[in-house]
Amino acid sequence: MIGIVLVSHSRKLALAIQEMVLQMVGPDFPIAVAAGVGDEHEELGTDAVHISEVLLPFCQGDGAVVLMDLGSAVLSAQTALELLDPDLVPDPALKLRLCPAPIVEASVAAAVAASVGGDLDTVADEARVALAPKEAQLEEAGVSASPPPAAEPVRSAGDTREVDVVVDNPHGLHARPAATLVQLVNRFQSDVQLINRSANRGPSSARSLTSVALLQIRKGDEIRFSISGEDARSAADAIRALADDRFGESGEGPTPRPQMPVRAGKEEGGGIPISEGIAIGRPLALNAVLPDFGDDVAGTPEREKEKLDEALRQVAGDLRRPDLPNGVATEILAAQALVLGDPVLLAAVGSRLAAGQCSAAAAWRAETEALAASYAALEDDYLRARAADLRDIAARVLRVLAGGGKALRIQPDPPAILLAGELLPSEAMACDPSRVLGVVANAGSPSAHAAIIIRSLGIPMVVDGSVDFAAFAPDVLLAIDGGSGEVWVDPDPVRLAAIEARRQEILAMRAAVDSVKTAPAVTSDGQSIEILANVGSADDAARARDNGAEGVGLLRTEFLYLGLKDMPDEEKQAQSLAAILANLGAGPVVIRTPDIGADKPLAFMPTAFEHNPFLGVRGLRLSLRHPDFFASNLRAILRAGVERDVWIMFPMVTAPDEMRQARAFAEAAHRDLEKAGVDHRWPVKLGMMVEVPAAAMMIERFAGLADFLSIGTNDLTQYLLAAERGNGDLDALQDAAHPAVLRAIHEICGKAGEAGCHVSVCGDGASDPLVSALMIGAGVRSLSVRPNQLALIKAQVRAVSIEALRALTRDAMRCDSAAEAREIAKKELGSLSSPG
């Protein structure tokens, strides 16, 4: 690729231009800076020797266009050419062009031309005419002022297509979106001419940034692409898709939905284990279970249009209520929301409807599917990934259209194993555990929200990208082991018998485990371990009670606020909390104040955009910034808990001072209620989540400030290992069995023990039998687990000795990885606790 060398008196100036160019064409573009003078090149001036050194690698590579600022920059650049070693660079003219164009404009134009593979002359030509758009703009002289380069329409054989677009970008097709367009166009053979119909400019070649810029396309302008050539059709589709994505500006720097990794299983082969358990049964494609969106014409075009608008409104409303637990969610949702309002898509659907003979669902499906297909056919990873978003949002709308907004239920009859490309959270939630035997998906991650839901329902699930559902005969028999990730297709009778035996064994073990539900969790050497439940809804509360929880180690309160347009008043919050408390059995209840933030934004509490919400204003940080809201949360908890042993816990605590402030808030809440003569619980224990590494490392500084600690392993792991939750590529790191996490927990338990402070673990790790064993070995004496894991964890505690677990954890802390720690834990626990 042809590069650019920036020669400037000012290093700062050149670096700024470099930054701007890289932002436009991507970080790998070869653009070098030869600017400034003096030892650090910080003084104003040019240095011919330095320039020569910068030029040399370009001479030995593909070459570069040299752009200079003023006066001596030119002289120095020319001199630099003479300084090049003739043995290394026999003819600098073959590799370098000193270009007289204005440095900023030319840098951008040249970079775009170079990034799409232009040769040295083409790139230099692009640079040379880079001033033309600005001239034209200032003179309003139109395109004819300066002939754009390489704009001659090339009539080639093949198709001719036209794509009309109304530009919706706030600043029109300014440099960045124009650059994106030019890069896309240059991937195709076809000639692409662009006309700004609103301003009557053009046609100009869409291959050239300069000629696109000359068209001065502003927001609201109607533009037309005329595409001719062999690959006109795919070029047209790609341009349409890009236009629908507002030329890459759909959400200011959205990262594409991560492509779920498809990889070899962690176990003997097969896929990724997602949810434990064995299922044997006939497969059923998820699509077949989803509501059938009939194509029948239900009414007049007007009526169908109304139905569609209503569905779009409802889905848009749902999207504003993100229920996914990670930062990716907001980006997915933002991208999806864009589709709902996409004028081009809506216009296409609208004209289909207007033509009659078409239901809202059929029109919506046809247009979204066509769009998704054109995305999916593209080579660009980013655009391809958009197809999944598009299909997801399309399905949401179709579901609303078909079901009139009723909640989706997936109840296959007869019961079956679901096959899905990727299970969406809403679909996981809809699964009826008595009818859905298991799930096999082509893509997904154990930390995905759908996976968490499926586990909570006790449905076995495996992700295996290699399973080709289309190849299944309709009467195939499928067996899956959600614990190992194995998938068997039509297993032979011997194999099937073995799988069935294993299934019975697991069921028997679960039954045995169930029988210990009400027994105390005491190790074989007499150490009792407190087993609490994590609760986030009234259903969870009932399940926790039924499964023998000794109390609640984590009552999440986010559900009280998510999805609400207006802030609920104190009364409403207290009532909702009381409803949950009423479902609980005996024992203490740790209520966590809202752990919300930019990744789970509240409609009534707008938050600033954050590049990394997980490192942003969330949890207690957010609460302390909204004193009125926080005070009402605390008063509601104290009121709802009047009859209960309620403890209050603050999430995302980083510094002791935050704890001081939080305590002051709680005390103020108590005084307010007392003054008003309202019944409430007081005193209550005030504690903190330990999930920020800073807090974990200096936990003794919280002595006297936190009455109890609860370790949030999910966040602690993500922050310790710098691996975002929900990023499927980093599953191996997102594991609380990691020695670093175990060491942190060991350290916290040690220090808290000295201070006589109660420590519990409420993260997902506590619900994992292997990890919970390692935590007990690290010193944890209280675990708060998912309600459906209560019995299992309890049974395990009863089967092991503290002594053995201590030794095990000591070894695990010396491992190199979570996988290694799991390996030795698995071996050790196998011999410690006999199944059943």
Partner: protein, 209 residues
């Protein structure tokens, strides 16, 4: 003095650096009137760097290597247009004196003439453009006319350069930043012509000593 060797040349550079430093403010003022006001600072920085380079002792080899060292250092440290111009001038001196270890009067004149040609080529400047060329052209002519004695040659060059530098005042600049000023450049002496004169004057002092 019959011949200039590297030892004398080193003294010349030392003297030139001191003179330029002393006149730095003057050169800057001249430049401020018609340019960007940095010529004195740039030249001072460049010659200070050359001195530093020469601190370590004699440059190994002939005069060619010596001049090349000076040229490369000026190229990479002066910063303004004077960098490539004076840098190129000394590089050319280096090329022309390859294999030689000493210079007499006539060969010095020829050498400076070659350096001037490089400046003219590089800066595309002709006499009358209000540049250092205006000082150097009459200087070279005077040096060639002065005959054999080194002191006489350099003194003739220095006097001609000084006179010519003063005479740049009524000229209208046609090169460099000053050319942007057009007629407003009239009435001010050219800083480049002045620095050239300073270089030749310091050389004359060394040769007359």
């Amino acid at each position: 003095m019959q011949e200039l060797t590297q030892a004398e040349m080193r003294v010349w550079i030392w003297e030139a650096a001191a003179v330029i430093d002393k006149n730095s403010a003057l050169l800057c003022d001249l430049d401020a009137a018609i340019g960007d006001g940095d010529h004195g600072a740039n030249m001072t920085r460049g010659f200070a760097a050359v001195l530093k380079k020469l601190e370590g002792g004699a440059v190994a080899g002939d005069l060619g290597a010596f001049f090349k060292t000076i040229g490369m250092t000026l190229l990479s440290t002066v910063g303004g247009a004077a960098g490539p111009l004076y840098g190129g001038f000394f590089l050319e001196l280096g090329k022309q004196s390859a294999g030689r270890t000493s210079l007499d009067g006539p060969s010095l004149a020829v050498l400076i003439e070659a350096g001037l040609a490089d400046i003219k080529r590089r800066g595309k400047a002709e006499p009358g453009d209000k540049t250092m060329v205006d000082a150097l052209v009459p200087a070279v002519e005077a040096m060639k006319a002065a005959g054999g004695d080194l002191a006489a040659v350099t003194r003739a060059g220095a006097e001609a350069a000084r006179l010519a530098a003063t005479n740049t005042a009524p000229l209208q600049a046609r090169k460099g930043r000053a050319s942007y000023l057009g007629e407003r450049s009239i009435g001010h002496q050219d800083p480049g012509a002045n620095s050239a004169a300073l270089l030749l004057e310091s050389l004359a002092r060394i040769c007359s000593a």
